[in-house]
């Protein structure tokens, strides 16, 4: 039983952790090498890893996707430790609109222009910080979605993940609040009801024994 419980716990942890890792913003230090547009024909496998057509446009099965090609500084530990190694990385650039995930991004065209304006060449290196969510997966042709681009002087910048700090602080607060509310509900509503039930059961038992006593031979 403990084995099943622990397996379930690990599964829930992985699911929630995976979802958060996909949805929460992360910052990459990159050199933008080019931007391009490809036509994507989504399949049932990778459709959920893409947003929808640009805001106010019709949704068709096939559409163009803006891509940003970069060379990225690799990291360890979810981006907390930056390494000197570099690797190519491709980002998509799509409106998230009013829908999931709630970035409320409508400016993918502008972002593409910003990416073009921040191009890095061999003669003149230009570093930038790309804020993004999502994963890159080569087998399913899935790209992370770029949310913002900020030019920086060099690759050694300190990025403080303010949003994630506030997000996790809020989650802790919400968990504490839910626990407090549950305790109050149990103390004020469930426990008194249980006590009533217990009392009435005791009374019923009293009656039952009285009734049984009537069948006993009188002494």
């Amino acid at each position: 039983m403990a084995y099943v419980k622990n397996t379930l716990r690990v599964l829930v942890f992985l699911l929630v952790g995976g979802l958060l890792h996909y949805v929460l913003p992360q910052h990459d230090v990159v050199k933008i090498t080019s931007t391009e547009i490809i036509r994507m024909d989504f399949s049932g496998v990778n459709r959920i890893f893409f947003a929808q057509a640009d805001s106010a446009s019709a949704e068709l099965a096939t559409r163009d996707i803006r891509l940003i090609n970069t060379v990225k500084r690799q990291t360890w530990l979810l981006g907390f430790i930056r390494r000197d190694r570099e690797k190519v990385m491709v980002y998509r650039n799509e409106d998230t609109g009013w829908i999931w995930p709630p970035y409320f991004k409508f400016d993918s065209s502008d972002l593409q222009a910003e990416a073009s304006a921040a191009l890095s060449t061999n003669d003149k290196e230009q570093w930038a910080v790309i804020t993004h969510y999502g994963w890159r997966n080569r087998f399913f042709t899935v790209y992370p979605n770029a949310i913002g681009i900020r030019k920086v002087d060099g690759p050694d910048v300190t990025v403080i993940p303010w949003f994630n700090i506030f997000f996790f602080a809020f989650v802790l607060l919400a968990i504490g609040m839910i626990r407090a509310m549950w305790r109050q509900f149990r103390e004020r509503s469930i426990d008194p009801t249980l006590e009533d039930v217990h009392e009435s059961v005791v009374q019923q038992k009293g009656r039952l024994t009285q009734w049984l006593d009537t069948w006993r031979s009188k002494k």
């Binding site: 829908i99 709630p102 409320f104 409508f106 400016d107 509310m181």
Partner: protein, 90 residues
């Protein structure tokens, strides 16, 4: 269309939170009032006790505190506006 969906489902979700929070807040206040009475009079089962608690709850209902819970609707709306601005401004 997406905007309307966000507003409708957001309103439903926030209403659930609002109702739960107002029940919780009132329950906390009721418990405090009962404890206050019990400390002074040492009993919890009398018409005076009930009147005292009901009066306190009525005062609470008319005070500013339950109205502050409407922030449950205001704060997320402001956060959405801020996110909208931060994401789309260059």
């Amino acid at each position: 269309m997406g905007f309307i969906r966000l507003v409708i489902f957001g309103f439903i979700g926030l209403s659930v939170i609002y109702v739960l929070l107002s029940i919780y807040s009132r329950s906390i206040r009721r418990e405090k009032l009962e404890d206050e009475w019990a400390e002074e009079h040492g009993e919890r089962d009398s018409p005076e006790h009930d009147a005292f608690v009901e009066k306190g709850i009525a005062e609470y209902n008319n005070s500013l505190r339950p109205k502050l819970l409407l922030l449950v609707y205001v704060v997320p709306a402001v956060l959405v506006a801020v996110a909208l601005y931060l994401t789309n401004s260059n």
